[in-house]
Amino acid sequence: MAAGPYNYSYIFKYIIIGDMGVGKSCLLHQFTEKKFMADCPHTIGVEFGTRIIEVASQKIKLQIWDTAGQERFRAVTRSYYRGAAGALMVYDITRRSTYNHLSSWLTDARNLTNPNTVIFLIGNKCDLDAQRDVTYEEAKQFAEENGLMFLECSAKTGENVEDAFLDTAKKIYQNIQDGSLDLNAAESGVQHKPATPRNPINTDQPPNKEGCAC
């Protein structure tokens, strides 16, 4: 009955982190607009995008915070890790330095988010295989050692971009089903929302959620 983009059962909050110029904003743009943004300006502080996806036939709204990679914004972007259900940690496969910095990003992510936050490692720019500076195997091993999910994608061609965002959501959803993620907590990064409009007859009753939402 309720058509339109606002009918969803969950909101998941994501944060995208990684060095400057690894293509964080382009990944977000590719995911939300399905287009590649060629001359992407440097992000100032943080930007914001949303999209509704479907996982296990549940509609989920992703609220994605794209952070600036420049060092001078580090202090600002750190404040946005709070309550992220998913963190996409991006490096550039053609620039080894961006890969080498991953451990510092990972430390930030681990220190500033929930223990349940799903961290997904993304090797971006996999269309530039000729200029590759970090092998797939190496990054895969790094991911396994640190318990991260991992994919190489290309914001330019769109390859694997959907999968990275969707797999993260699936994992979060799985955590909810397992009960390892407490939905009632205000800052779990996941918010549940009944998809069906409330029964009109019950409208005078106070909403049940109120008591436990805080």
Partner: protein
């Protein structure tokens, strides 16, 4: 032979009638005469005895038999006739019957003619009425509400809203507007009546819808409001009643406002589940993180609130809704708790570097949040106010630092280098300017800030240096000032927007350097004993007579001075003033040396020229001053 006999017979019979007759009989072929055969057959039945008597009675017998047959015939036909007679009578009766029926039918037809015409007319009438009924139904369909629609509009006692409410409401609206067409026709009364009743329906429906919407809006106090489809529709429908819509949205704003405040306080004091993420207030000892976390939370929640609001009014035409205003109301509630906390941080913070970082952070977030909510919103004016406060606190802190410098002026150290307060202040300046490098605000702001910061720090520093140098002699003062200014210079030259300041500082250096150079030059000239001669030569006028006659400028005196000068030339550094060697900057030191040497060379050149001038009556000028000025320049430079 037979044929011949017959011919003969024929010839005979032809002549004789009897024979003719006989012939005829003979010629008769009995085989072919069936009648005869039948007759003979019949005859053979009863003519059994061929005797005379029977031959005589044959005729009568035959007649008798004929009679009997005829009688038999007669009787047979008599029966047929009787049967035919009965058939006749039956047919006769039928005919009569039919005739009777025809007559009766005729009569009946005559009688029913009226009825039929009546029926036909009734039928026609009924068709007309049916048509009318259809028209009337169509009219009612179009201009009246069905009972269940009315029921839906009236709603249930508990105030619930049926899903078809909006269809019914749209219909009421449609009917109301269709009535205008009715008013143009000759059904004005009906039009007016319907219009009136629809208006009543409409009013009560809107009233109910308003109450429902308001009630719903009051309930969206969860962290994530549940904006149902029905509520979106309600808001869309209320567009026709802007006042009611406004009240409803105000109610929504109020509910969200309290939700945001609660969320903010929770994030500040409770944090996430099991304490992760930790409550923001846990970091209140780290002002930057504390304020930064609060601002980031406010930024994120403003963005979310804007989305919820947009989802609520997604079906409304943009110009009806004062989105910005509502969003401003929603975010207004957190202003006080936010302001109180940040003010507390600002007031208790002494370190100008931290204050400046906070100032920049506030500026950055003001800019960032402006992209989401209107800059007139209370939240942003609060951020702006706090930013203004932080700006003032920062400059206060800088100024008080500068005042402290002037209150307790340090004496210059023996090496004429920087005092510790100077190096400390310059370090502070470096820290402040460096955090601008790491900050996130616009270039214009940066330029303006730099100007103000430099004025706030450099001017008092210069003043402090002058005060601290006031008890020194001129040379010490010059060297000390050159050194102090040089330190400022090197600090500033690393940063943008300092050109004007650098220029000013360079000019001051030059002035002090001039003093130092002339002191150095006169010191050298004094030590080699040329100073007095140089003074006398400069004051000498041709009318005083030749120079050689003036006391102190005699050959011997000059020669002894030249000897000293020579030893200076052999070891030029031996006569360097200690103050000059205390100059920290090697370039300034070199320049001081070069310029003082230039002065010395100039003086020497004048002396040399005067002595070899024949008018001055030196006997052997060339011998007295063996070195040409060129040689001296060459040796010294």
């Amino acid at each position: 032979m037979a044929n011949k006999d017959e011919k003969d017979n024929n010839a005979q019979t032809a002549a004789n009638p009897l024979s003719r007759k006989l012939n005829k009989i003979l010629e008769t072929r009995l085989d072919n005469d069936k009648e005869m055969l039948e007759a003979l057959k019949a005859l053979s039945i009863f003519f059994t005895e061929n005797n005379l008597r029977s031959r005589r009675n044959l005729r009568s017998d035959i007649e008798k038999r004929s009679l009997a047959i005829n009688e038999e015939f007669l009787s047979a036909f008599q029966a047929v006739k009787e049967q035919l007679d009965s058939v006749y009578s039956d047919v006769q009766a039928m005919n009569e019957c039919c005739q009777d029926m025809t007559n009766r039918l005729k009569a009946a037809k005559a009688k029913t003619h009226h009825l039929i015409s009546q029926t036909t007319s009734l039928h026609n009438e009924s068709q007309k009425l049916q048509l009318r009924e259809q028209v009337a139904n169509a009219f009612l369909e179009k201009f009246q509400l069905k009972p269940d629609e009315i029921k839906i509009l009236r709603g249930t006692r508990d105030g619930g809203l049926h899903a078809d409410f909006f269809k019914a409401l749209a219909k009421v609206k449609q009917i109301h507007s269709d009535c205008k067409f009715l008013l143009r026709t000759n059904h004005q009364t009906a039009g007016l009546e319907i219009m009136e009743s629809m208006a009543l329906h409409q009013e009560s429906a809107y009233e109910r819808l308003y109450r429902w919407t308001q009630n719903q809006c009051r309930q969206v106090t969860q962290d994530t409001p549940d904006v149902s489809y029905l509520l979106c529709q309600a808001v869309e429908a209320l567009q026709d009643r802007p006042v009611l819509l406004k009240y409803s949205l105000d109610e929504f704003g109020k509910a969200r406002r309290s939700a945001v405040v609660r969320g903010f306080i929770d994030a500040l004091t409770r944090g996430g589940p099991g304490g992760t993420p930790r409550p923001i207030e846990l970091h209140s000892h780290d002002p930057l993180r504390y304020v930064g976390d609060m601002l980031a939370w406010l930024h994120q929640s403003s963005a979310s609130e804007k989305e919820y609001l947009q989802s609520l009014v997604k079906n409304c035409s943009a110009n009806v809704i004062q989105l910005e205003e509502i969003l401003g109301n929603i975010t207004e509630g957190v202003c006080t708790p936010f302001k109180v906390r940040v003010e507390q941080v600002l007031v208790s913070e002494q370190d100008p570097v931290i204050l400046y970082k906070l100032d920049n952070l506030l500026k950055f977030y003001h800019h960032t949040i402006t992209q989401i909510i209107s800059s007139e919103a209370a939240l942003l004016t609060t951020v702006a106010e706090i930013q203004d406060l932080s700006h003032r606190m920062f400059f206060n802190s800088l100024t008080s630092h500068a005042n402290r410098l002037l209150d307790k002026v340090e004496l210059p150290p023996p090496d004429l280098g920087a005092t510790s307060s100077l190096t400390q202040t310059l370090q502070l300046l470096r820290d402040v300017l460096a955090c601008h490098d790491a900050s996130v605000v616009r270039i214009d702001d940066k330029k303006q800030d730099y100007k103000q910061i430099l004025a706030c720090v450099i001017d008092p520093l210069l003043q402090m240096c002058s005060v601290s140098a006031s008890r020194l002699n001129a040379v010490d003062m010059a060297a000390y000032m050159v050194n102090s200014i040089h330190l400022m210079n090197t600090t500033l030259s690393l940063y943008e927007f300092t050109d004007a300041r650098l220029e000013m500082l360079n000019a001051q250096t030059e002035a002090h350097l001039d003093t130092l150079v002339s002191e150095q030059a006169s010191y050298i000239l004094n030590r080699v004993g040329l100073a007095q001669m140089y003074g006398s030569i400069q004051q000498h006028r041709p009318e005083h007579g030749p120079l050689s006659s003036i006391s102190g400028l005699d050959e011997i005196a000059i020669k002894s001075a030249m000897n000293k000068f020579d030893s200076y030339l052999a070891q030029p550094d031996s006569l360097t003033l200690p103050q000059c060697s205390l100059i920290l900057s090697s370039t300034v030191r070199a320049s001081a040396k070069k310029r003082s040497v230039e002065l010395v060379c100039q003086a020497y050149k004048q002396i040399y020229n005067a002595i070899i001038d024949p008018k001055n009556n030196y006997r052997d000028g060339q011998n007295i001053v063996p070195r040409t000025p060129e040689q001296v320049v060459h040796l010294l430079m």
